[in-house]
């Protein structure tokens, strides 16, 4: 196929060619960045929580007096444990994808000069760590005497387990076991490292901080109450939670059952990312509409060109061009225009990405998005041009002998 005659023809339709190329360029820029946004959101949806979500549920109680907390804990723990199918019930202040009650900034020295970062303190009673299904990869899990009573927001001195990514952030390249850190004047010592434990509220995840959690063993009491972790077989968990609700109404009429907060962890996870799923849906919608509009634009314009060149096509056919030649001509023409658009579009895609990076804390667009975007647009162009090109190929040579 000779390209030069096509280029010569395109030069005579500079404006229309430019328009299609610009449309392709814009589509390429939006397509690449929208796909990248989708990939980012989808990655967020699949974040590793580190806990056995399918086997867990939480019951959140409010409205009771702090002075009744100890009594409430005793009643609730005993009552919920009697539910058939319940494997364990424990007290845990924050819940992955749920309530957030232990967010604080820690320091690596007692004077508070060396800031470590904002982390989540999961303060949990006996059994909560096993219930969560956390894996201690080095050091040790909490032992019986690690669980102590405390006054105030949190234990003021404790042996704790931290996540690997937090350890890596606080003490890069060194063994975190035995290291100390402080929360204001309160002191904690690392005795174990856990694989993963996600922070509760996804809106607080910045960069790597989504896994910066600390497990603090403590005994339930005045300030560790009302937030319970239930574990049961994944098949039973919904039923167990329903039973828990009716049980609570009987054994703790003085407390208010928090409907929004008391769910299975799978449901809480789904709720946490509703917004992101809606955004993914919208982005997919935009991409489909965008490809459709672009394709229809190409169909419209090429149809016009075919109608305009009907006579020339007839002449070409009369002097020996085959149908395949005509088809090829329009396909090559489209390929050239789309390629021109894509080259422009790649630059635009990068410019758009720079803008997004500046305003929305988005990472840099990986290079492999560009060839994928290009392939999609080439395919789209060829598909769109096929109909009109086939019609062009069907023009009989006899047209050449007629006037208009």
């Amino acid at each position: 196929m000779q390209i030069r005659p096509i280029l010569a023809a395109l030069r005579r339709h500079r404006l229309a060619t430019m328009l299609v190329a610009l449309e392709i360029a814009l589509a390429c820029a939006v397509l690449c960045n929208a796909c990248f946004l989708i990939a980012n959101r989808v990655a967020l949806l699949h974040v590793v929580s580190g806990v056995d979500e399918t086997a867990l549920a939480t019951v959140q109680l409010t409205g009771y007096e702090d002075s009744h907390a100890v009594d409430l804990n005793a009643r609730v723990l005993a009552g919920l444990r009697s539910i058939p199918g319940m494997q364990s019930v424990s007290v845990l202040n924050s819940i992955p994808f749920g309530a957030r009650r232990g967010t604080a900034g820690i320091t690596l020295d007692m004077a508070g000069q060396h800031f470590g970062g904002v982390v989540e303190f999961y303060v949990g009673g006996p059994g909560s760590m096993q219930a969560l299904g956390l894996h201690v990869t080095s050091g040790r899990a909490p032992q019986v005497d690690d669980f102590r009573t405390f006054e105030g927001l949190m234990p003021t001195d404790a042996s704790v387990q931290i996540t690997r990514s937090l350890a890596e952030h606080l003490w890069p390249g060194t063994d975190p076991l035995g290291k100390d850190f402080w929360l204001d004047k309160w002191h904690y010592r690392v005795v174990g490292v856990i694989d993963h434990l996600v922070r509760p509220d996804p809106s607080n995840w910045q960069g790597d901080s989504k896994d910066w959690s600390i497990f603090v063993p403590a005994l339930p009491g005045k300030y560790l109450a009302g937030s319970y972790l239930l574990r049961a077989d994944p098949k039973d968990i919904s039923r167990v939670l329903r039973d828990a609700r009716t049980t609570i109404a009987k054994i703790a009429p003085d407390a208010v059952f928090d409907e929004e907060g008391s769910k299975t962890l799978s449901d809480l996870r789904t709720d946490s990312f509703r917004q992101d799923r809606a955004m993914v849906g919208m982005l997919v919608g935009v991409i489909i509409a965008l490809l459709l509009v672009t394709a229809l634009g190409i169909v419209g314009l090429v149809s016009f060109w075919v109608a305009q060149r009907r006579k020339q096509i007839g002449i070409r056919r009369a002097i020996g061009a085959t149908r395949a030649d005509i088809l090829n001509y329009f396909q090559t023409e489209n390929f050239l225009i789309v390629t021109f658009g894509i080259v422009l579009g790649m630059l635009l895609a990068f410019a758009l990405n720079l803008l997004l990076m500046k305003h929305y804390e988005l990472p840099r667009l990986p290079l492999y998005y560009l060839p994928i975007g290009a392939l999609i647009l080439w395919g789209l162009g060829q598909l769109a041009v096929l109909g009109p090109a086939l019609r062009a190929a069907a023009v009989p040579p006899v047209v050449a002998t007629r006037s208009v």
Binding site: V20, A34, G63, L153, V256
Partner: protein, 441 residues
């Protein structure tokens, strides 16, 4: 002439229905997408108190004595001491303290299980300052503030829930274990955003949905509320750990917001120097160290500073306009094809004496008509889009409705876009040389 062009345009559009449908569809989809996002933007970034917002100000002092960070900005809300001192000084036309907390609400006369609701503890000026509309009764008096009166104002929602929407003034409400007398019931009140509680937007990572939640359901005098729900107040942040969680009066924490009303530039300047004076005095007393770090932002400045519009909404708007641009290019191409296909016809008109202007005008009328049709489609798609937004799980979902200005904006935008798209093809069409076209006929 316009009517004639319109007639010609209708005939021309009828001639090639597929091409017309393509163009109308492209414009409709582009307009639908951009108007949906623009309407959401318009609703979220608007002035929550038109006409009054210019007189409302948000004072800040920096009570944090530590040097852990740069102190480029004072903390977003105030500690108890500063807030109460500034409020008690009564140096503004009106001033109000606000702090929210969650508590158990029960109506002893009504047989319903207790509810957990948000309570706003504030001072009597809150209602007149923020133009809060009352259905029954009224707010409480400054005297009630001083006497720690056990009174409350409730929202229309809570009144519907507990008292079936009837006049509940004079009835009793049990807040935690304290009985209060209802003195007022609000009309449905939904400021967007919930401006008086906005703070911390710069730490929100663009996820500022929470600024658009509904106002609290129970309002009590500041002093009474602090007593009733003692032990359940949450800090915005602390520079040292509080001794008693939930009881923050003497804690090294910030948790209270102060709003002042200042009518006129002179009063604003006066208050600014009063604020600076207060900070300097507190520094002399040794309570604070960053005395020069005070701010007095107006309501709208404060909303801007907090980037109240969620970043996802911005992103969607940009995306929608990029999409509209693609639709625009598409329409330009199709219009070009359409006009140039009629070269012969235009040649005849030119030969018969039509000026270039006339041809240009005729083409633009046709483009405008496509825009109008696209606008109708765009309007329907905008309504569909807003319906989708209302089904989204965001705090502002219930706000998404098309108001009159945005309805007209839909058509203005559609026609403007189509005229813009039509300009270049129309110019091309008007440049057609009549002689060349006549020869080929």
């Amino acid at each position: 002439m316009f009517a004639y062009y319109l007639d010609l345009a209708v005939r021309s559009l009828k001639r090639n229905k597929v091409l017309t449908a393509l163009m109308v569809l492209a414009i409709a989809v582009g307009i639908g997408a951009s108007m949906t996002t623009l309407t959401v933007m318009h609703l979220l970034s608007g002035d929550p108190l038109p006409g009054r917002s210019g007189t409302l100000f948000y004072p800040q002092v920096d009570a944090d004595p530590t040097n852990d960070y740069s102190h480029a900005e004072p903390l977003d809300v105030m500690d108890y001491r500063s807030a109460v001192d500034l409020w008690s000084a009564h140096r503004a036309d009106r001033q109000t303290l606000v702090v929210d907390s969650k508590l158990k609400v029960h109506a002893p006369e009504v047989n319903l299980p207790p509810l957990m609701e948000m309570m706003l503890s504030t001072t009597s000026d809150f209602f007149p300052m923020f133009d809060v509309p009352f259905q029954y009764g009224s707010g409480w008096s400054a005297d009630d503030d001083a006497k720690h009166a056990r009174v409350a104002v409730i929202s229309a929602d809570l009144n519907n829930k507990l008292f079936g929407g009837t006049n509940s003034v004079g009835h009793t409400l049990r807040l935690r274990d304290t009985d209060v007398r209802i003195v007022g019931v609000l009309k449905p009140w939904r400021p967007s955003p919930q401006f008086y509680m906005v703070a911390g937007g710069r730490f929100a990572n663009g996820q500022t949905d929470d600024f658009y939640t509904k106002p609290e359901d129970v309002f009590t005098p500041f002093t009474s509320g602090l007593e009733i729900n003692d032990g359940n107040f949450w800090q915005f942040t602390c520079w040292h750990m509080p001794d008693t969680p939930g009881h923050l009066q003497n804690a090294p924490c910030v948790w209270i917001r102060l709003w002042v009303e200042l009518g006129g530039a002179a009063k604003v300047a006066d208050y600014r120097s009063f604020l600076a004076g207060y900070a300097a005095q507190q520094k002399a007393l040794g309570r604070i160290t960053h005395a020069d770090n005070t701010r007095l932002r107006s309501l709208m400045q404060w909303l801007d500073f907090n980037h109240v519009v969620p970043s996802d909404v911005h992103l969607q708007t940009w995306l929608a306009f990029a999409f509209l641009a693609i639709c625009l290019f598409n329409t330009v191409g199709l219009l070009l094809a359409k006009f140039l296909r009629r070269s012969g016809e235009i040649g005849v008109r030119r030969a018969l004496g039509a000026s270039r202007r006339a041809v240009f005008a005729q083409c633009l009328v046709e483009a405008g008509l496509i825009g109008l049709l696209g606008g109708i489609g765009g309007w329907l798609l905008t309504l569909t889009g807003l319906w989708l937004v209302r089904r989204q799980p965001s705090a502002y979902a219930d706000l998404a409705h098309l108001d009159a200005p945005m309805f007209f904006a839909t058509f203005v935008l559609a026609i403007m876009v189509s005229l813009l798209a039509g300009a270049l093809p129309a110019l091309r069409a008007s440049r057609i040389a009549p002689a060349l076209q006549l020869k080929t006929l």
